[in-house]
Amino acid sequence: MLHWKKNSDKPEIVPKDLQSPINPKIILLILGSVACFQIFNSMEPKDSTKFTFFDFSYLVSFGVAAVFGIFISKRYWGSKIFGKSYLSLSLGYASYFIGSLVWYIYAVIYHVENPYPYYPDVAYFAFFPFVIYHLKRNIQFFKPKLEKKQKINLIIIPIVITLLFTFVTLVPMDITSGVFNLKFLPTPDHDQSFYTTTATSIAYVILDTLILSCTLVGFKIFRNSSLGSAWGLLLVGLALYTLADLIYYYFEAFGLDVANDVQGLWVGSAIVVCYALYKHKSFL
């Protein structure tokens, strides 16, 4: 049976002319833009029946990520790995864009208050299989046989985060006296909508953490290479997305709409992913 000799267990040093360093000015620009977005958005009075500039920016950011993905896919059109995987990623962002558009149509035009879980979630859920396909395709091709540690990371991260999320959502507790003086409270009577909303939220969390763990594995494969910065940015982008989703869905379980408070993270996530796609294209 053949096995691959590890030619180099040490990381390869990528020559300067092949390095694709992340421009710190662009990172500062992204951080600054997101910070300004969030500050001004939080000052905006919450009215889900109005379509504000911030809602527009949020919507457009995902649309732009979809378009970036299409351009990358076109560059590698016809190729089994890059062509198909980047098309899938762009379809994922396009699905999210459609989901958000439908959400705003229901909220702003039909005045459906906080439509969740509702029809837009079909498109939101479609985001995940497309993104997972993109990640899986690349990982499977470039590293057909994952190491034990990578396999463990792939499974452990979603399980741990999902269990934690489920626990803090379903088990009422009082932490006002500090985390080490945690008190468990009696379970209140929740109505059916709480359990429906919570189940949907947990489903989102499972999928979010799955894409996060896949991206982490992908980043570790490519990190000591020219593609390392593109995958690093993708990891940051999807980590921001996951964080925003965790916060949003936790509060949604209790009927609290905190979309305005995490919109900046979603927008930031989409912008960082656009930068990741640009990095890939500019180098390879």
């Binding site: 691959w4 590890k6 030619n7 990528v14 590293k143 057909p144 490519f222």
Partner: protein, 204 residues
């Protein structure tokens, strides 16, 4: 370049282009030329150079890509009872080449004459009973396609060195399984030893 490497070289640019796109192939070729002054096919002669360039681009992912090069041409038979050098030919064009070579009576006789030991061309033609004109053409065709490899040489009485040739395969089986022609070959030990691609891979 070893015969096996010649066979695999043909699949190299096709594998990169098919999976990663023409632009990626161009970038890899450009980098090979910048760093070593060689093209993609020449990089097979010293596969560590190609490996080094692929690692610059893809890091740990280069392993998966290199495995694809080999698996697009051959897959290893994992039957414990069989010699681990038995491989199934996956590349349809290579399978066709082998079938055509064994389908041609003269080429088949040439290959048979050098299955066991290396011989010079004149010996091959004598054993195979092929006229010289057509014989030399067919031997050269087999060498160009990588099915005959140089193994050693002989010094003539006037001091000239003449190459000896041996078949890249020690044995070939051709079966039809589920309407598909399956070509399996037993790689010659020398073709494995000389292959720089296989040197990157360790056999267990």
């Amino acid at each position: 370049m070893s015969g096996l490497d010649t066979l695999i070289a043909k699949s190299l640019d096709l594998t990169i282009k098919e999976n990663l796109g023409k632009k990626t192939l161009q970038k890899v070729e450009q980098r090979l030329f910048e760093k070593y002054g060689i093209n993609l096919t020449q990089s097979i002669e010293d596969f560590t150079k190609l490996d080094s360039v692929l690692r610059e681009f893809f890091g740990g992912g280069a392993e998966g890509l290199e495995k694809q090069f080999l698996e697009n041409v051959v897959t290893l038979e994992e039957t414990k009872s069989q010699d681990p050098n038995w491989v199934a030919i996956e590349d349809p064009s290579l399978a066709k080449l082998i079938l055509e070579s064994f389908g041609d009576e003269d080429k088949k006789n040439i290959m048979n004459s050098v299955l066991d030991e290396p011989r010079i061309v004149s010996e091959i033609l004598e054993i195979a009973q092929i006229p010289q004109t057509s014989g030399y053409r067919k031997v050269n065709s087999l060498i160009d396609n990588g099915l005959l490899i140089v193994q050693g040489h002989m010094t003539t009485h006037d001091g000239k060195k003449v190459n000896k040739y041996k078949s890249i395969f020690d044995n070939v089986t051709i079966n039809i399984e589920k309407n598909k022609v399956v070509v399996k070959v037993l790689l010659a030990k020398e073709s494995i030893e000389k292959s720089s691609i296989i040197q990157v891979v360790q056999c267990r």
